[in-house]
């Protein structure tokens, strides 16, 4: 058994969370509330050291007074607590939302539209390896049929109906695969925790 107090803390907290498998109990609630508190404390420190200090206070103390602008914009968030001028909170929100929306249009177009279409298009070069060529054709059919399934401007009848039915089959295979993959990721986390309890804590395995 480990003599390291940190290992003991980790093991006891792990068991506290696992106790929820029996039923909701005070040990689980303690672990859950501690997690929320510590995670918030973690992000306070993280944002101080990685956001506010290098991007606001250091430039300001170096005489870059342009950074007064984000300081003032940031302070406007707190006008939310003063009913008479609470509408001013919309200014930093509008600034951030406008920035995000503007940035996302070309970013989505480049990464999620052009790149994905580029990967889907079948050219004669795709058939340099026959098997890969066949797979590429299956992917092309799958992408087209999936998109047709989500096309609601026309009734799904005839060719559109058949393509839509094929699309839902691809979607179901995709959902099943994603589900299986997610379960396996969670199972690997579970194995990790069990390994921690049996290894570093109890010393039963190497």
């Amino acid at each position: 058994m480990s003599g390291d107090p940190w290992i003991w803390i980790g093991a006891v907290l792990t068991l506290m969370i696992f106790s929820f498998l029996y039923k909701d109990n005070p040990f689980y609630k303690f672990g859950e509330h501690l997690f929320v508190g510590v995670a918030n404390g973690y992000y306070i420190v993280y944002y101080w050291h990685n956001a506010l200090k290098p991007n606001l206070f250091e430039p300001l103390s170096a005489g870059q007074f342009l950074y007064v602008v984000p300081l003032l914009l940031g302070l406007l968030y707190f006008t939310r607590f003063i009913p008479r001028i609470s509408w001013l909170v919309r200014i930093p929100i509008g600034f951030t939302i406008g920035w995000g929306a503007g940035l996302s249009i070309p970013a989505y177009f480049q990464a999620d539209v052009l790149r994905q279409l580029e990967g889907t298009v079948v050219t004669p070069a795709t058939f340099s390896n026959t098997l890969h060529g066949i797979y590429a054709v299956i992917i092309l059919i799958g992408v087209a049929c999936t998109l047709i399934y989500f096309y609601f401007s026309r009734e799904h009848k005839g060719v559109l109906g058949s393509a839509s039915k094929l699309g839902i089959m691809f979607i179901m295979i995709g959902f099943g695969a994603s589900f299986g993959y997610t379960v396996m990721a969670r199972v690997s986390l579970l194995i990790g925790r069990i390994q921690f309890l049996l290894g570093p804590w109890l010393g039963l395995i190497d």
Binding site: V36, A101, P106, F150, I173, M184
Partner: protein, 207 residues
């Protein structure tokens, strides 16, 4: 004024960021970098607001002695302690802050997500029924991927893991790509609606 000014700021910022993307000049890149730093600062201020709300919520719970109020003390004490430790002694790799992260936060977070393995499996057992062709496809593909990614899979059949990999890279890829394209078009349309002031729900309130 109360609505027009924020809408104008949103429109200008959106337009500037779109135009900036197509001008790879050093001045344009420097401008983008400065704005990005400002946004990081604004997000930090938003976090301060969120922390304030958390303190208010749990403080109120403790003050009124509501149900489970002692756990609110645990939340607030954990937050204050972690913040004080990180702000006082720093965040170096051998600091107390990192030790707490590794031995308190990581085990708690990891175990919570590990619990989901059990709940997902039990929910799947109750919900997954091969009632139609589509449901059967979902069930079979989930089963093949789960078994294929386990060492046990290759004992069932040596080509099982390769088949699971094929499902992930061909039919799964096709459907995910289709969905991704749909999401991208939807997101672009929503972003345009926000910039042009058609979508205004973010303004909240009436006046």
């Amino acid at each position: 004024m109360k609505r027009r000014l924020p809408l104008a700021i949103c429109f200008i910022m959106g337009l500037v960021m779109i135009v900036q993307f197509f001008i790879p000049h050093p001045t344009s890149l420097a401008f983008s970098s400065v704005i990005y730093k400002w946004i990081i600062v604004l997000m930090a201020f938003a976090l301060v607001l969120a922390i304030g709300n958390l303190i208010r919520h749990h403080g109120e719970k403790i003050r009124r002695r509501k149900e489970d109020w002692p756990y609110s003390i645990v939340t607030l004490a954990g937050m204050v302690a972690m913040a004080a430790i990180g702000l006082t002694w720093g965040i170096a790799s051998d600091s107390l802050y990192q030790k707490i992260f590794l031995n308190v936060m990581a085990p708690l977070g990891g175990t919570m997500f590990a619990l989901l393995a059990y709940y997902m499996a039990s929910a799947a057992y109750r919900a997954f029924r091969a009632r139609s062709l589509e449901a059967t496809l979902l069930l079979v593909s989930a089963f093949i991927v789960m078994i294929g990614f386990m060492p046990f899979g290759q004992y069932l059949h040596p080509r099982f893991p390769a088949f699971a990999e094929w499902i992930m890279t061909v039919p799964n890829m096709a459907s995910q790509r289709g969905i991704l394209l749909g999401v991208a078009f939807g997101s672009i349309a929503t972003a345009l609606k926000i910039i042009l002031g058609i979508e205004r729900s973010w303004l909240g309130g009436k006046d």
